[in-house]
Amino acid sequence: MADIQYQAPEDLAAASALLAGAGGKARILAGGTDLLVQMKFDVVEPTLLIDIKNIAETRTIAEEDGGFRVGAAVPGAELGEDAALAAAWPGVVEAAELIGSTQVQGRASLGGNLCNASPAADSVPAMIAAGAVARVIGPDGQRDVAVEDIATGPGKTSLASGEIVASIFLPKRPANSGDAYLRFIPRTEMDIAVVGVGISLSLDGDGVCTAARVGLGAVAPTALLVDAAADALIGSKLDEAAMDNLAAAVSAACSPIDDKRGTVEFRTDIAGVLARRVASIAFTRAGK
């Protein structure tokens, strides 16, 4: 068994260079709450760990263009403690705070949750709904990528060799907007989402939905952006008919698997149920 090297560079370029130079045998260490477990069970066997937490950009939350740039390694607990962020994007913050226990919250990050590429990652549907954009740093410079385009399958991402997600940008929230995220789990805490739904929407002065994004988790190989579900809401006041259409569109978008956490039938059914509830919360928030 080869020894595992550990590096904690202080800038992104150095981190990217290390990653690119390791020929696929390196892993980025943010919160580590997934990576360490995968290493324990030999799911991944890296020869180099690149800890990005000594890099300032990955550890800070900053307001930018009326939105928020959240460092990829900022732990979930810090998101909730940032009052402005929590007020602007309560759904994203709630979703991030649902990841694991209080203890896990002390480490787990948006960047890690995104790049771990689990279809059931709680924060990802919420970020998709929020229109979040990942800033990717690589050997060829930086690029901005919609979060829904990061994961390509369970455990797989579109990141090229040497590329690192450095931060997540949550855009300026229009007036009369709100977001929310709910997941279904059998217990009240500590479970992986059986289904997760994030919705962000905007209303006009009459309470008519003018824009919406619906993110869906744990029902397909990656978290999904469901345009048809958003279309069901846009132009409505989220009346019963719109909600029915939303639920139907969400259920239609599901292509889940039967596994130890849920059946196809249950997941498809619950996705619709959750979508109604999430839309209702987002609607209320938008109206405030």
Binding site: M1, F41, F184, P186, R187, T188, T263
Partner: protein, 756 residues
């Protein structure tokens, strides 16, 4: 919470702080994995990835050649134990099974079955060595479900096993090991007399004890003997098993029990202990073996998943005329499902004329089951109590009233022939009916469930020593690992007997060489049986103290009594001598004949019934099937609560384990027979936010067979919750649930199928 009105005793029945409390809140207490010795090696186990396979060969040469590897063992390094002659009867103690479970010989029988082990200088090298062991398997068809395993064409786990009672020479091999049976009266006649007969089938999944501390041990060995430090529910039983499996003299092995981080029955069997000893013998260095959590789930005892068929007949007035139960239990890879206990207990809260119960003990490709809190009973009681609740609804009789009509009372004889002495079941049911919880209003989608349960504590062998120091303080030595505060109970009883301050009694758990044999911390026996030994040891010490006082006063022994911590003159000599305290007598001990001490070696007997009943409210999210437990009240006849704090804790803990069993816990296997959820992430034990406060209502009907009236309390509370919770869900949604866990997908599907 009960008040502190007990004025009969000074220490018994009081909320005394536990003697091991400070060590346990400061991190000083030493659990199984907490011992580090110089030169200690790390032991690791290679486990089967297959549910069922023949081992064609094992090549350990590469592992042995790895630098840092000090020993490698396979089954070849342990004595082969011959098949014991049958029949075995109700108590199976088959060391050949235990040996083959510890380390597979010809076949692996479940995912996680040990096939080899290594000891190395570091965890990293040990893990690497495991990867270098080459095992050539011939994968065989496997069977996970006991009903499938009973079919004629099912894969056979043991070619040399025939169903007990059949001729070993002519019978075909079978996965069914035994079909135990118990009968009372005439059920056919009883069913004929019934106005209503309800017959239902129930299923439950295998569930794990889920103790938070994984199995852990440290072994040292030389030609002089073996030292084993381990987390166990019984150091003496462990010692015996290790001696048998290794071919050693019992007296050459000293087992010291660490503090134990939960057991619930699951730390009765031995797993890695003999392996660690063998590795230590070969390496000539101490070896520590600590299981990972996935090893705990994959390879240590869950309790049986079960198929249960219950048939009960009753008259219109609610009198039950006959009861029948058929149980099919998973034994796991080796025989020994707890059907006997299920038969003993399932109908035993009730006074019934006609009972017939039987069951099938079925081997399947799963880990060998271990005892889990009232082993075998919750699955059967789930069915029995479910049918009784349905009977009550059909007959239009209140669920508690139906139980009251049929409640066991003093003199009731159960199906096993045990006749009850004083029993608090009727009183408890009356208390439940009168409790505010019983008639509290329920909201929309909320339901209330209830169920009863029965267990009886075990007796068995226990030893205790009471040594009085020359300052009058006392060391109490007993042999049961303290799993939930038993030191406090032992110390309270001894302080009570001696009439000294509770804090002057220091209870110590002995190693196996320092005190005579003491049976397990199990079967709700410790406070009953070992408590009795402690009381007798204290009384024997008092005898010595009184004798010394008598000699010092120059009177006869009969003229001295022990009262309130003092030897006092009695009879004609009253007033002639000042009473002497224990401390005063002890101070003179060196010059009056030697130390003051008492000891007791007993086999406690005098089992008494311990009955309970639970009341629970839930709210069901009809759209998702999610269940929230809103309110929970446990009622139990506890005999006498020596340490009310810890008795309440047992009742609360048992209830919450039962809630987990009812709602979310289950072993899930894939189609290759591999366990899919060997971790706390997907094996979902209740977390703090899942449950409400668990209210406790203790009824104290003392057990006449114990000096302080103790009944075992630890196991009964896991018997009622499964049926009570399912009943509450039924009550909330108006549908019946007979398949545990009553998990959200099942509830949602049932509601949907019913048009909701």
């Amino acid at each position: 919470m009960p008040d502190e009105v007990n004025t009969e005793f000074k220490w018994v029945g009081k909320r005394n702080p536990r003697p091991d409390g400070v060590d346990k809140v400061t991190g000083r207490a030493k659990y199984g994995a907490d011992l580090y010795l110089p030169g200690m090696l790390v032991g690791k186990t290679l486990r089967s990835p297959h549910a069922h396979a023949r081992i064609k060969s094992i090549d350990t040469s590469k592992a042995k050649a790895l630098a840092g590897v000090k020993a490698v063992v396979t089954s070849a390094d342990f004595p082969a134990i011959p098949k014991p002659p049958g029949p075995h009867g109700p108590m199976i103690s088959d060391f050949r099974d235990n040996s083959m479970n510890m380390m597979a010989r010809d076949k692996v029988l479940y995912d996680g079955h040990p096939v080899a082990a290594v000891a190395a200088t570091s965890e990293k090298i040990a893990r690497q060595a495991l990867k270098l062991i080459e095992v050539d398997y011939e994968v065989l068809p496997h069977v996970i479900d006991p009903v499938e395993a009973m079919k004629p064409d099912a894969p056979i786990l043991h070619d040399d096993q025939v169903t007990e009672g059949e001729d070993e020479k002519t019978a075909k091999p079978s996965n069914v090991y035994r079909i135990p049976r118990a009968q009372k009266g005439d059920v056919e006649k009883g069913f004929a007399e019934a106005d209503l007969v309800i017959e239902r089938e129930f299923t439950t999944k295998a569930v794990h004890q889920g103790y938070i501390e994984p199995h852990a041990c440290v072994a040292q060995a030389s030609d002089d003997g073996v030292e084993l430090f381990c987390s166990t529910q019984g150091q003496y039983v462990d010692r015996g098993s290790c001696a048998k499996l290794l071919g050693l003299d019992i007296s050459k092995i000293r087992v010291t029990s660490s503090e134990i981080g939960g057991g619930f029955g699951g730390k009765i069997p031995i797993y890695s202990e003999p392996v660690a000893i063998r590795l230590a013998q070969l390496a000539r260095r101490p070896v520590k073996m600590v299981m990972s959590r996935d090893e705990v789930f994959r390879a240590t005892g869950p309790t049986s998943g079960a198929h249960v068929r219950i048939k009960i007949g009753a008259k219109k007035d609610g009198t039950i005329t006959a009861a029948e139960g058929e149980m099919t239990y998973q034994a796991g890879a080796f025989k020994g499902a707890s059907i006997g206990a299920a038969m003993n207990c399932m109908f035993s809260p009730y006074d019934l004329e006609n009972i017939h119960v039987w069951g099938y003990d079925v081997c399947v490709n799963r880990p060998k089951v271990a005892a889990y809190r009232a082993p075998g009973v919750p699955m059967a009681a789930f069915g029995v109590e479910g049918v009784i609740n349905e009977l009550a609804d059909e007959l239009g009789i209140d669920r508690v009233d139906l139980r009251l009509i049929n409640a066991a009372k003093e003199g009731t004889q159960n199906v096993m022939g045990m006749k009850y002495g004083p029993i608090g079941f009727q009183e408890m049911l009356e208390k439940m009916k009168a409790h505010p919880h019983y008639n509290a209003p329920l909201g929309e989608n909320q339901g209330r469930g209830l169920a009863a349960g029965y267990w009886l504590h075990a007796g068995g062998m226990s030893c205790a020593s009471v040594n009085v120091s020359d300052d009058g303080t006392v060391t109490l030595i007993e042999g049961n690992p303290d799993i939930g505060g038993s030191r406090a109970s032992m110390a309270a009883m001894v302080a009570e007997e001696l009439g000294i301050d509770y804090n002057k009694v220091r209870p110590i758990i002995s190693d196996t060489s320092s005190l005579g044999f003491t049976f397990l911390t199990a079967g709700s026996r410790v406070t009953f049986a070992t408590g009795m030994a402690c009381v007798l040891a204290a009384r024997n010490a008092i005898k010595v103290a009184c004798d010394r006082a008598a000699q010092m006063w120059g009177v006869s022994e009969e003229e001295v009594v022990w009262e309130d911590g003092h030897a006092r003159p009695a009879g004609a000599n009253v007033g002639d001598h000042e009473p002497m305290s224990l401390a005063e007598i002890a101070a003179k001990a060196p010059m009056t004949g030697g130390p003051i001490a008492g000891h007791a070696e007993i086999n406690a007997t005098g089992q008494g019934p311990a009955t309970g009943a639970h009341l629970v409210d839930v709210e069901v999210d009809r759209e998702s099937g999610h269940v929230k437990v809103l309110r929970y009240t446990v009622f139990q006849d506890v005999g006498r609560a020596i340490s009310p704090d810890y008795v309440e804790g047992q009742l609360q803990g048992g209830a919450v384990q039962g809630i987990g069993w009812a709602l979310n816990e289950e072993y899930i296997y894939d189609d290759k027979g591999r366990l899919e959820n060997p971790g706390f992430l997907d094996y979902r034990v209740p977390v703090a936010s899942d449950v409400p406060m668990i209210d406790v209502c203790m009824i104290e009907v003392p057990n006449p067979n114990h000096p302080y009236g103790v009944r075992g309390v630890g196991e009964t509370p896991i018997v009622p919750p499964q049926a009570a919770v399912a009943n509450a869900v039924e009550n909330a949604v108006g549908l019946r649930f007979r398949d545990l866990p009553v998990s959200p997908p099942k509830i949602r599907k049932a509601i949907k199928d019913a048009g909701g």
